[in-house]
Amino acid sequence: MMAHEMNREKNCISTSSEWTFETIERYDREIARIAHEKFRLDTYPNQIEVIRSDQMMDAYASVGMPVFYNHWSYGKHFVNVEQNYSRGRMGLAYEIVINSNPCIAYLMEENTLTMQALVIAHACYGHNSFFKGNYLFRSWTDADGIIDYLVFAKHFITQCEERHGVAEVERLLDSCHALMNYGVDRYKRPRPISAAAEKQRQQEREEYVQRHLNDLWRTLPRLKEKLDQEREIPTFPAEPQENLLYFFEKNAPHLDSWQREIIRIVRKIAQYFYPQRQTQVMNEGWATFWHYTILNEMYDEGLVNEGFMMEFLTSHTNVVMQPGFDSPYYSGINPYALGFAMMQDIRRICEHPTAEDREWFPEIAGSDWIGTLDNVMRNYRDESFILQFMSPKIMRDFHFFALEDDDRRNAIDVVAIHNERGYRELRERLSQQYNLSSNEPDIQVENVNVRGDRSLTLHHNMHNRRPLGNDTYEMLRHAHQLWGYDVHLHSVEPDGRRVRSYHLQGEAT
């Protein structure tokens, strides 16, 4: 025993909790070896940046990115973070990691050496491999180009501010930000963005858009065609459009080309972040699973000692804690907790399947766990991940139960709990909870009155009869700001019945 302990102390990378660049490098080397060779993780190269806590707050405020254009809302975010942090009401994240190639990870200088090791395993190998492997990130984001694109965007917006005034640009950005969640293509794959090409194409695009618009808004139709045109009533757009910002960028009648370019920038950035919003549970679960697995492996190899493990497990446990719905600390389902539990559970099903597992997951029970997890990571997002891989054991462990609150009934119903009858129902409902398109109101461009007052009609396709919230008129104002003419919005039941209509009348132009 003594000899064993002595041996452990000898192999240890470090015994102090103070980090140095050399020790961080050694930890990174070992973690990389374990991650790549032992667990076959495929990652982008890493760029680890050590920063101070105030720089971390800066990074927080600009959505985590190293370069970002200026806007007051980031300042608002910043003062809020600053206030809460200085009052001790919140801790800063230990790390921020950026989906770029090389993958940039920020470590805070305040972290102890153990925390730095944890963060490296978590961000530089966990998140990093997720960014590189997951199908959403592969098809929707361009890790190679994002930093360059942000530099381009910042530069472009600064130029616009110089040319057209900060207030003017700010008004436009306000409207774009408000509609940001409606600036993504949910089903089409966009072209990857690259700054160089972007700059090059900008000029052509300006001309093209102008030409295209002139065609659409021609006010002096050629006489010969006049009769034909009156017979067929033009419907535009031909099909409902879900990407509102794209629609405005391409079709709004009165925007200048620089305004279209800014809409495009906001839209591209929204698109870049869209996969992150869809894979929160998986992404965090994956990273947490790997820091846990890698650091335990390091312990088994004798690279770290008990003190290290105690400190690591303490913070790991804090991260994956899930308070119950009636706890004062409850604020929804903790994605770290759920994701980590499910990843661990999949490994368990592979390695030690029970009879229940064999019945529920015949295709993965008993399979190679590394390969199975890799496949899961690559091909799913939160919604499908939960629907496919949540086992009854997880539902039992979390004591999940599903509620239905129908305003036509006088009480809330418990529709399913973690029992034999409820598992499938419960799982389906939980998976729906992670379906972004059912959480956000479904709003699409329905029609433009091309030959009339040019008013724009949006449809809110209602789901479960849920109405829009009280920001709606404010939102219409933003839509109007971009469109330039009257904006109508109808809440429509699936059977086509209009439940409520909103109308924003623009000032006479």
């Binding site: 940046e49 007051w72 849920r466």
Partner: protein, 422 residues
């Protein structure tokens, strides 16, 4: 293998621009919050930065979201007693949480306001926005009363006691080299030639020796030190704006002054103090309190000790006049005076007040402010001061204050930039 980069020395305050834009956008709300803070805060912590609270709805960024109603579904963890088919009464708040999250009823409180911190200097900046002390700038630019002597290089003329020996010798040396150089070189040549010359060539020798003696005479005639070698240290007198200010706080502590009134006065003094502190390098404060007699006291006593008795304002004014004459010459000091009172004064005393003010106080001061606190009819003192104001409108301001909330507006009124124009 990862690159590890130390970014700790990189630029800080990356968010500065965003923060400023935020402050600018909500300028109005922040100003209101600051002005509110002045009437609410204790004097002792007035000078710190402040927590600014803005209603959340004012600064929220809108987005499309679901409202209450319809059929909502949610899955929660932590079930203990529920089974399928249970019916739970709605929480009283008519449905509680918003879309998809059950936390609204728990942590929803206190989320109504957006709270953040501004620094002390920002706090003061907002407080003193578009405010300027009248006459201050004028006095600073035009005053020639105080000078500072500064070195300003060297001069050809000056007193013997300003003589700069090193500079003088250097210039003499240079002159000697310049005047004697060619002669000296020639002398060396002649000496060398004489050395080598044969005894036989006497004619040549004589010629050379004659030239040598001529050169020696010329060289000896170059003076070691000449008049125009002398260099003197040059000093110039630079007029300096006075960086010093003294502020007199005069307060009535007679029986008629309630603690509330004193409290209001305190805030007023403090505001003035803060403002002066921002504008002057050095500032001294003299506290004079009076009932029937005036007394110079320390700050603690001034604000917190209690006295009773009648009111004779002139005693304080006389004391102030004496102190100015004794310690604060108007040449060296910018003198400000703030007086607070409930307006009571002994009838017979008004005459003497008038004399004291016009003779020994008002001519000396940069600015004299008087606030009368309370909502009674104007008292005798007010009427006297109203007269005076027409004579000294450039430096005498009087205002009436009814409560704490009015101090700040009154303060602004007193020190409005427009006063300068009048």
């Amino acid at each position: 293998m990862a690159y590890i980069v130390d970014r700790r020395l990189n630029s800080k305050n990356k968010s500065l621009v965003n923060r400023q834009r935020f402050l600018k956008r909500y300028h109005k709300q922040i100003r209101e919050a600051v002005s509110d803070a002045v009437s609410r805060r204790n004097m002792t912590d007035m000078e710190q930065g402040d927590t600014i609270t803005i209603p959340k709805r004012d600064i929220s960024e809108p987005h499309f979201h679901h409202g209450d109603g319809g059929q909502r579904e949610i899955v929660h963890p932590g079930n203990r007693e529920f089974i399928e088919g249970d019916r739970i009464q709605r929480p009283p708040k008519g449905g509680g949480g918003g879309s998809g999250s059950g936390d609204a009823s728990d942590s929803g409180e206190g989320m109504d306001d957006f709270v953040f911190q501004i620094s002390q200097s920002e706090f003061l900046e907002y407080l003193f926005e578009d405010l300027a002390l009248p006459n201050m700038v004028k006095r600073q630019l035009t005053t020639t009363d105080s000078f500072e002597t500064r070195r300003a290089g060297y001069s050809e003329v000056g007193n013997p006691n300003q003589l700069n020996i090193v500079r003088s010798m250097r210039s003499a040396h240079a002159r000697r080299i310049a005047l004697g150089g060619r002669s000296r070189r020639r002398r060396l040549e002649i000496l060398a030639e004489l050395e080598q010359l044969d005894e036989s060539e006497t004619e040549r020798r004589e010629l050379l020796e004659e030239e040598l003696s001529r050169l020696n005479v010329r060289l000896n005639r170059i003076p070691f030190l000449d008049d125009f070698d002398l260099k003197y240290n040059l000093h110039v007198r630079v007029p300096t704006p006075s960086p010093k200010a003294v502020m007199f706080c005069v307060m009535d502590v007679s029986g008629s002054m309630t603690q509330d009134i004193k409290d209001t006065a305190k805030r007023f003094f403090f505001l003035l103090y803060l403002f002066l502190k921002k504008n002057y390098e050095k500032i001294e404060v003299v506290f004079i309190r009076h009932h029937t007699q005036a007394q110079e006291v320390d700050e603690e006593t001034f604000f917190y000790s209690r006295e009773t008795g009648g009111t004779v304002v002139s005693s304080a004014l006389n004391l102030m006049g004496d102190i100015i004459a004794e310690r604060y010459s108007p040449n060296a000091w910018n003198i400000y005076c703030a007086q607070a009172s409930d307006g009571d004064n002994w009838q017979e005393d008004n005459e003497r007040c008038h004399k004291a003010l016009t003779a020994s106080v008002l001519p000396m001061v940069q600015y004299y402010t008087y606030i009368e606190i309370g909502d009674r009819e104007p008292q005798g003192l007010w009427r006297l001061y109203e007269h005076l104001q027409s004579d000294f409108s450039d430096r005498f301001a009087i205002q009436r204050v009814r409560n704490n909330a009015e101090i700040y507006p009154v303060f602004r009124e007193l020190f409005r930039k427009t006063m300068e124009v009048e």
